[in-house]
Amino acid sequence: MSSNSFAYNEQSGGGEATELGQEATSTISPSGAFGLFSSDMKKNEDLKQMLESNKDSAKLDAMKRIVGMIAKGKNASELFPAVVKNVASKNIEIKKLVYVYLVRYAEEQQDLALLSISTFQRALKDPNQLIRASALRVLSSIRVPIIVPIMMLAIKEASADLSPYVRKNAAHAIQKLYSLDPEQKEMLIEIIEKLLKDKSTLVAGSVVMAFEEVCPDRIDLIHKNYRKLCNLLVDVEEWGQVVIIHMLTRYARTQFVSPWRQGDVLEDNEKDFYDSDEEQKEKADKRKRPYAMDPDHRLLIRNTKPLLQSRNAAVVMAVAQLYWHIAPKSEAGIISKSLVRLLRSSREVQYIVLQNIATMSIQRKGMFEPYLKSFYVRSTDATMIKILKLEILTNLANEANISTLLREFQTYVKSQDKQFAAATIQTIGRCATSITEVSDTCLNGLVCLLSNRDEIVVAESVVVIKKLLQMQPMQHGEIIKHMAKLLDSITVPVARASILWLIGENCERVPKIAPDVLRKTAKSFTSEDDLVKLQILNLGAKLYLTNSKQTKLLTQYILNLGKYDQNYDIRDRTRFIRQLIVPNEKSGALSKYAKKIFLAQKPAPLLESPFKDRDHFQLGTLSHTLNTKATGYLELSNWPEVAPDPSVRNVEVIELAKEWTPAGKAKKENPDKKFYSESEEEEDSSESSSDSESESGSESGEDEEDDRSGDSAEDSGESGSEPEAGKGRAATRSRARGRGDSKDVDKEKENSKTSESSSGESSSIEESSSDSESESESESESESRKVTKVSTPVFVPGKTHVLLHRMSGKGLAAHYFFPRQPCIFGDKMVSVQITLNNTTDQKIENIHVGGKKLPMGMQMHVFNPIESLEPAGSITVSMGIDFCDSTQTASFQLCTKDDCFSVNIQPPVGELLLPVAMSEKDFKKEQGMLSGMNETSTTIIAAPQNFASSVILQKIVNVANVGVVPSGQDNIHRFAAKTVHSGSLMLVTVELKEGSTAQLIINTEKTVIGSVLLRELKPVLSQG
């Protein structure tokens, strides 16, 4: 009874049951007999007590013991309530161990696990990124379906976290949530799409992993990120590299045309041979057309090459398979050296790499021929490694090296590792068939082996010789005689069967021996292996047909023996043969053909590599290793005939447009955008600029509306869209103007500008200058416009920031500072001055800006390359960067002739502004319009002397590029500015209060920048 219930427990618990004994004990027999179990229970009691104590050290000890139990696979689930209480422990190690416990058992104790959720939710908001990340990790690892919505929310938030480490964890959490609840797929794909745009190298690998797990078929998500991924690849951590390379291999096979020349295919594919002449001609035509590789295709091949030098075998293998599958055949050769290098590492790595080389060496011998000797077998290699090496040696064998190889094989045949020796014999057989020059030598060698002392060697030789003789139906009577003699000594069934078959097949060539062999085997029939028995039957039948005089009786004797054999296969075969060869009244038409049936010309077996057909699996995959399709294996598609549109990978155009569209108006303006970006771009650009001029110039809205709708009607006539669309748009416009929102117009212009960004930067600069003109023109007419007049900066701080330290720049130092001047390159750009110093004693040549890694929407106007910089020389250049009104970092590469240094500029929020001159009246009016949501404020406490107006002025203009608004009151200071990119107003008010406090208020549409500015100003104003 007790044992039964114990068993029951084991089943229901589904795991780890030594400790389960306790339950059995407590319910059934709490007394003496189960001493062992009760002591276990006591131990757990004691753990519980320790967990409930208020000493951290006791708790920690308890947790450590519990983790020990988990590690050993013992069940510790009954401690769940006691453990889960400690999830909020202050001690970080206890907390971590509780996490370990929770992740292990939450699935089993779902209700109790829910108690811990709120702790994680709180931790998700922690200022420490490590804590945020680990909270997300644990939360997403708790496999409790109820919390799916909470996880979803957490992932969403984390995917927008400022810390790339947290975002990386969010990418991992996506996979976990997906496996918990696949229904969330659509939402998760959205997050993946967002994270794919992430520029951090930390995130890239993880998000691609999530992509591969959740939606590997959504190749469209990759397009826009393709180039970025290629460029980031070198800097991604090694595991991420493997995943990204595998994904990009698949991508490349769907997006680019084959780089393998037609000629190559012709060689591989014999079908072409049968093609009619016409088709051939067509083919030839095709071949003549030069193949030009897509630059993106080239980019991938080029950027993965340095990774062949990685210390990580998985990365090297991933690059190797990429080259194999997508690089031009002439370039794939470079991978062999790296793969051969991997053969030095551990046995397991060798095993996988050798398998892949084996597959490759079948198709392209040349690749590995120079490394032939690297595949020589050492006596210390593991058997499986030896056999794989042998396989590769066989594949590489040709007329030139076969003699060396055969000499090497001779050593192997003598190996003490008999399995290996047997494999070598097989190999020799294969060489003999593939290289006809040596087939006689091989055969002789194998015959010599027949006198070997080791039975396994002899048996294997017999089998191989049988195959060889079958392929060369010449006179080999001697060999057959020799083998017939062996029958007396050899006992391995396969070998005996082979010999018998061979004799049967050639019974007319050895007419004297064959009946004698039959006689001998008839005697030993009953003690033979089944395999041998079948061959004896065959031999008998064949002899009966060719030489019935001598063997009739013998055969009948054997058939009688077979009739009563234990094995039904043999009984069946006996019956079959009897009916076929022994003529009686019942035998049908078939027996006439018996001779033809038995002594037909048999096709020779093909000796070929077991790796022959493995190449339909992608190299480097698990499926390739196992030679079966593993779960989740994704087929590598064939090259497309025609490459899909390569422009989908063009990033800037599409993304900028999206980014610059003001959120609220996106829908309305979408048709506009399309409208412009269709056929008549050129025309459009000129038109739109004239549009804007006329717009700002004309006073009457009525007039203009007519004008515009007429205009757009014309447009639509050309482009074929409905005239209503144009009208609707015009109406929108006039309404917008009616609100007095002048910025709207600017935005419209931007949109049109974006859509034609291909027309080059110079034109956009011209245009923008005309814009500013029109702005100043319109100043007199519209009151609201007046306020945005840009004034000169009040103060230009001389503070410089380090762009490139001379140590990391190999002597090239760079500093930057913000001159606070309107940028000459574009009115949405912030000007940045960069001072370059040469601290080396040599000339630095060709300093220029290399690759840019800008967040979406950002633009940068780079300085002209500097030809050379003398030692100890310095030069100042200016650049313009459009930060899109955000404090995101602009990363780019500062390159010299020899080097490239990654540098970045992160603008202080105060530099994203341009000072604006306005009157107090205007200020108040604007402020009134920017209340509520658009207002942020805080209270400042500081010593009274800090509130002197000059001090406040000095402090504020030092931090932010704002203009001073003349104030009528002594206790209120006002400052005004507009953001550089969008021109939104930024109004700063400092209101001094009683008792050394002050109120700092910022009004702006750009609330994010507003609050950042507030945060920066506050400490500056408070400190002395």
């Binding site: 790339p164 991992h172 698990l622």
Partner: protein
């Protein structure tokens, strides 16, 4: 006793519970049992249910010792029953030798990928397609990390430090995908146990677990921790070359190549930027770098430029394969013969220096796997000590230094099994040796410079040549 009974009656399908003896499961009576098939059926159902959902890269990890006990398990997702290891045990039995266990074993619902190091099998359970090298390389990294943390990686050490092991594994993988595998970062997250720290922790109640994200994780130099401080700033580089060679019977070289590594021990304050240049960099045929090395600089100038990780690391490994460049520093003269009629065989080997560039060869050991027919050997060495294990038939001779004036030799007779025919192959001889102060390829470091920090470090370079897989066929 009772427990034993219970076990006997219940087939061990659910797996893994327990632990005391992992081998028990391998009893054949458990298979083919009626109960078993029912249970298997149940498990299959559960498994197929799980396979509906997508799984992860590395599902679980089992550590199995040489006697077949699972002594540690860790799961990154739902628990995978221990019984999955049965397939591994089966393969192990079939393979007879540990190193012949295939690294990839398919089972109906999982795939087992394993590495064998320090007499422990590290078996990873995965469910879906994944590059096998990815998993294998990761498992090796796990072993390296353990070794780095505890000095040695063995069953008792892992059992003693099971909590740290768990914490480390938790950081190394998230949801089966590698998270932090750089030793420098891991050590900031979880400090390795030392006696001092254990004492301090007990008194102050502080922990081994760091509470800040290691700065390296986010910076462009993820391999180096920040705020490194040393009173003695030093950087040592060891250029170690191993010769892999196969020498045939007559003494001619069949294949020979040099595998070199540069191992570094760098203890420098702050963020030093080092450059290392060679006298003859063209010698290096095929190189692989630590991620810290700037590849472009190497491509253009053949100079190693890098911000080093803190502590010990492998900077570079390289390969010199052009055969004429490889000097073979030793030769072996051998005379091993078996006679058909007699039960005695002659055995005689002599080791001598060949191309040593005037350096002494030391640490020489000779090992050889004798044929099965050899019962015993009675040998006398001219120097050093020798042993012959009659069970494994392994002969090993610890020679020591080679004195060119008096060459070491080992002579004597072998007694063979009476009546058995003579072995058809002579044994191969494996050689180990060391040559100090010499890189056999001729590679020489030109200079080592440091930028970025003001102090003057102490620099040292050491050369050594060793035998790698050095075999002489007889």
């Amino acid at each position: 006793m009772l427990r034993g009974d219970a076990r006997g009656r219940v087939p061990d399908w659910g797996g893994g519970h327990s632990g005391r003896s992992g081998r028990r499961r391998r009893r054949p009576c458990c298979r083919g049992d009626a109960g078993l098939s029912i249970c298997r059926g149940f498990q299959t159902e559960k498994d197929s249910l799980r396979s509906l959902t997508v799984s992860t890269m590395i599902h679980s990890l089992f550590l199995i010792n040489s006697s077949g006990d699972i002594f540690l398990e860790k799961h990154w997702k739902s628990v995978v029953s221990r019984s999955v290891c049965d397939y591994f045990f089966e393969a192990q039995e079939r393979a007879t030798e540990a190193e012949n266990v295939p690294p990839v074993i398919p089972t109906p619902h999982h795939y087992l990928l394993s590495v064998y190091r320090h007499k422990i099998f590290f078996v990873a359970v995965i469910q879906t397609e994944v590059p096998p090298l990815f998993v294998i390389e990761f498992l090796h990294r796990v072993v390296d990390t353990f070794q780095d943390y505890f000095g040695v990686c063995s069953e008792p050490v892992i059992k003693d430090n099971v909590v740290v092991v768990y914490e480390v594994l938790e950081e190394m993988l998230d949801n089966g995908f590698p998270l932090a595998t750089e030793s420098n970062i891991l050590k900031e997250l979880i400090k390795p146990p030392t006696i001092l720290r254990t004492v301090v922790n007990t008194i102050t109640g502080s922990t081994n677990v760091g509470d800040q994200l290691p700065t390296g994780q986010l910076s462009v130099v993820p391999w180096r921790r920040t705020g490194v401080k040393y009173t003695n700033n030093e950087a040592y580089f060891d250029v170690i070359e191993e010769i892999d060679a196969i020498i045939d019977k007559s003494g001619s070289t069949i294949t020979a190549e040099i595998q070199g590594v540069i191992d570094a021990c760098v203890k420098l304050t702050g963020m030093p930027d080092l450059t290392l240049s060679f006298m003859n960099p063209r010698l290096l045929d095929d190189v692989s770098f630590h991620p810290c090395v700037r590849f472009k600089r190497w491509e253009s100038e053949r100079i190693l430029s890098f911000i080093p990780p803190d502590g010990n690391f492998r900077l570079l490994s390289y390969h010199v394969s052009a055969q004429n460049l490889v000097a073979i520093p030793v030769y072996v003269k051998h005379n091993i013969s078996f006679r058909d009629s007699s039960s005695l065989g002659r055995f005689e080997i002599t080791v001598g220096p060949k191309q040593t560039m005037g350096k002494t060869i030391e640490g020489v050991t000779v090992t050889s796997q004798m044929p099965r027919g050899v019962l015993n050997m009675s040998l006398t060495p001219s120097q050093g000590t020798h042993t012959f294990d009659p069970v494994t038939k392994m002969l090993s001779w610890d020679v020591g230094k080679i004195n060119p004036q008096k060459l070491p030799s080992l002579k004597g007779t072998m007694s063979l099994q009476a009546g058995a025919s003579k072995p058809d192959e002579n044994p191969t001889i494996n050689l180990q040796f060391k040559i100090q102060q010499l890189a056999i390829s001729g590679l020489k470091v030109n200079r080592l410079d440091m930028y970025g920090e003001k102090y003057k470090p102490f620099k040292g370079i050491k050369y050594m040549t060793k035998a790698g897989k050095f075999q002489v066929r007889t």
